[in-house]
């Protein structure tokens, strides 16, 4: 099953299981979604539960909050991660804060979106913006790298009584893997490759690049561990700690920009809590600190690649 199909099957299963689950978004119903992820659901669940909206992200995401407070479990789609910026007040000032400000109301909703570059979509259709949603507290943030994680984590996200931002990656939609029907709890990282010389922490599409890099490094006799963070908030620092205590060297890889990014955050936490375990600085391979250029070579120069990861691992080991 592909990653895209895995997302759909998780949604469908949850919708069958729980009549309170509804979908909202642009062209997700009649059309089945710009990436066909929700294709066929409209036919199965009808227009009461699959709500095509106008191009009013701020409005309909805020509506999802109101619906979540009054009996529904909305799964809302933002077509491109970049478009989340038109709805930041509703996401960060409203739905991320409601539980806390209200003294404990449950806000069971999921925002699904997809991001990522490598496709010639330039500066406004390629961004991975997860770090913005990690900085302002109040959302769980999930970014799966495989079909099976996508399915398992999305189920958990829909069942969670809290607002979850669920980040899919454009380059992963066609990726195949076996999936089983079980829910994967939020907040648990997964060691996707065990290794001894250095730890790579990553997630989403970048994680797959790390695995490829690890393969190639293995051929050179370099043995690295690859940890898929999967859930970015809450952070599974326990798994990070275990890995660092084993390898004493760390690399963090993500597609989003470096400054105030997830990698900066994790590096800061690792050195803070595990300073004496480190044999060298924690390094990063990240997206560049400039808008994403359109032309292909420039674009790839601005994003993580297998080659860059390999080179950086060698630096980490130097």
């Amino acid at each position: 099953m592909t990653y895209g199909q895995a997302v759909k099957s998780a949604i469908a299963e949850e919708m069958r299981r729980d009549p309170r689950v509804v979908l909202m978004g642009e062209d997700i119903g009649h059309h089945g979604g710009m990436f066909q992820v929700t294709k066929g659901l409209f036919e199965e669940f009808g227009e009461d539960r699959i709500i095509d909206t106008p191009i009013s992200e701020s409005g309909f995401i805020g509506m999802a909050l109101g619906a979540a407070l009054t009996g529904l479990k909305p799964v809302v789609e933002i077509m491109f991660f970049d478009f989340s910026l038109v709805a930041m007040d509703q996401i960060l000032n409203q739905l991320a804060k409601t539980t806390y400000m209200s003294g404990g109301l449950s806000v069971p909703l999921v925002i699904r979106t997809q991001g990522g570059g490598y496709k010639g979509a330039a500066a406004q259709h390629s961004q991975m913006l997860e770090s913005l949603f990690l900085h302002v507290p109040g959302l769980k943030v999930v970014a799966p790298s495989s079909a099976s994680d996508a399915a398992g984590l999305l189920k958990a996200a829909i069942r969670d009584p809290n607002p979850v931002l669920f980040i899919e990656h454009n380059q992963l939609y066609a990726k195949e893997s076996d999936i089983d029907a079980t829910e994967i709890p939020l907040g648990k990282a997964a060691v996707k490759r065990s290794g001894s010389q250095a730890s790579i922490f990553s997630y989403s599409f970048s994680l797959t690049l790390c695995l490829e890099a690890a393969e190639q490094l293995a051929k050179e006799g370099i043995d690295v561990e690859v940890v898929d963070m999967r859930t970015l908030n809450p952070l599974d620092f326990g798994t990070v700690e275990k890995s660092v205590k084993k390898t004493h060297r760390a690399l963090i890889v993500h597609e989003s920009a470096a400054r105030c990014g997830f990698g900066a955050d994790l590096a800061a936490q690792i050195q803070e809590k595990l300073f004496d375990e480190l044999d060298g600085p924690i390094l990063r391979v990240t997206g560049a600190d400039h808008p994403l250029p359109f032309a292909k070579d420039m674009e790839f120069a601005s994003l993580p690649t297998v080659d860059k990861i390999i080179a950086k691992v060698k630096e980490v080991l130097a």
């Binding site: 309170r20 709500i51 701020s58 805020g62 909050l65 109101g66 009996g71 003294g103 109301l105 449950s106």
Partner: protein, 332 residues
């Protein structure tokens, strides 16, 4: 702007079995509640800025009277009245506003974030238009779940120019949501008059073109407010969709406690509205129409005083929240 300010009140057209004295009592309680807030603010016991709804008491009291307990509501920083009128416990509200443990949100929310789900209250808001989508979403869930429930969101005249408000107005029309868009047009947004905020100062006209049913009313008459909201509620409940109500009113105080509210408004305007404040006018009408004696009015005032005092006593007796609770409760 044809606010029917100053006009004599009339007996409501369809006589519902309304308890006029209770309406007056509710307005009085609100006014006295806010008087107390102002006093505590001056004394430094209440922290932060304070946005009073003085002069606008008929709106929340009339509107909430037409709603059921299960109906949902969102409002703004100027929304104490809605919370009270919707049935919120006065003491717990006061406690929240004073940052106490027994507050509605245990002191975490504060006065701009009053929540009380048991009474349908989905939050006051610090962001202009921030709560409109929440109410629209509650209306959506009522529709999807086929529950006999509507939602009302109260906001100001300046708020219609915030993008998300317009997005929701359109979706309210498009989806025929069981929603009441209750605009308290007090003629100013902070210090900005309507003529400097909206290209078309006829807000009903502007909203009707989105596909909403609209009506402009005297927002200083609790009975007219009640009747209008009751009608809108009926429409909403039978699937006829959303209504935009433009309630003409005026805040007799400033935008917030440090604003005297005089530098940007003509003195005569303030005076005129002040002399026609909902409470003054309604009291006069109650007496002149023989619904109450002056003595009864006096008694209501005393009762309001007493209830408000009792609420604040409760609040002040409540301890500060445990500091370690600050770091809890981001998630349930």
């Amino acid at each position: 702007m044809s606010a029917r300010r100053g006009q004599a009140l009339k007996e409501p057209s369809q006589k519902p079995t309304l308890d006029y004295l209770a309406i007056h009592l509710n307005m009085l309680k609100l006014a006295k509640f806010e008087d107390s807030l102002l006093e505590y603010s001056k004394q430094g016991i209440l922290r932060g800025s304070l946005h009073l709804g003085q002069g606008q008491e008929a709106c929340p009291v009339g509107a909430c009277l037409a709603l059921r307990k299960t109906d949902n509501l969102t409002m703004t920083y100027r929304g104490h009245g809605y919370a009270l009128a919707k049935g919120c416990d006065l003491g717990r509200m006061a406690a929240e506003i004073l940052g106490r443990k027994d507050g509605l949100s245990g002191g975490k929310g504060g006065k701009m974030h009053l929540f009380d789900i048991d009474n349908g209250l989905l939050g006051a808001n610090g962001i202009v238009a921030g709560g409109i989508p929440t109410a629209a979403g509650a209306a959506l869930s009522a529709k999807v779940l086929k529950e006999n429930r509507v939602a009302l969101t109260a906001f100001g005249d300046g708020t219609v120019n915030q993008g998300v408000a317009q997005e929701c107005f359109n979706m309210a029309a498009l989806f025929k949501l069981p929603l009441i868009l209750f605009c308290e047009n007090n003629l100013y947004a902070e210090m900005t008059p309507l003529s400097r905020s909206s290209g078309n100062t006829d807000l009903c006209n502007r909203m009707a073109a989105i596909g909403l049913k609209t009506i402009r009313i005297d927002g200083n008459d609790p009975l007219e407010v009640y009747e209008t909201v009751a009608q809108a509620r009926k429409r909403a409940a039978v699937g006829e969709g959303a209504t935009f109500i433009e309630a003409m009113t005026y805040r007799t105080s400033g935008h917030y406690q440090l604003d005297p509210g005089t530098s940007y408004r003509p003195k005569e305007e303030v005076e005129e509205w002040r002399s026609n404040s909902p409470i003054t006018r309604f009291a006069k009408w109650l007496v002149s129409s023989k619904h109450a004696t002056p003595d009864q009015i006096k008694k209501l005032e005393n009762q309001a005083d007493k209830e408000v005092k009792k609420g604040f006593e409760f609040a002040l007796a409540s301890p500060a929240p445990d500091v370690q609770e600050a770091s809890e409760g981001v998630f349930v």
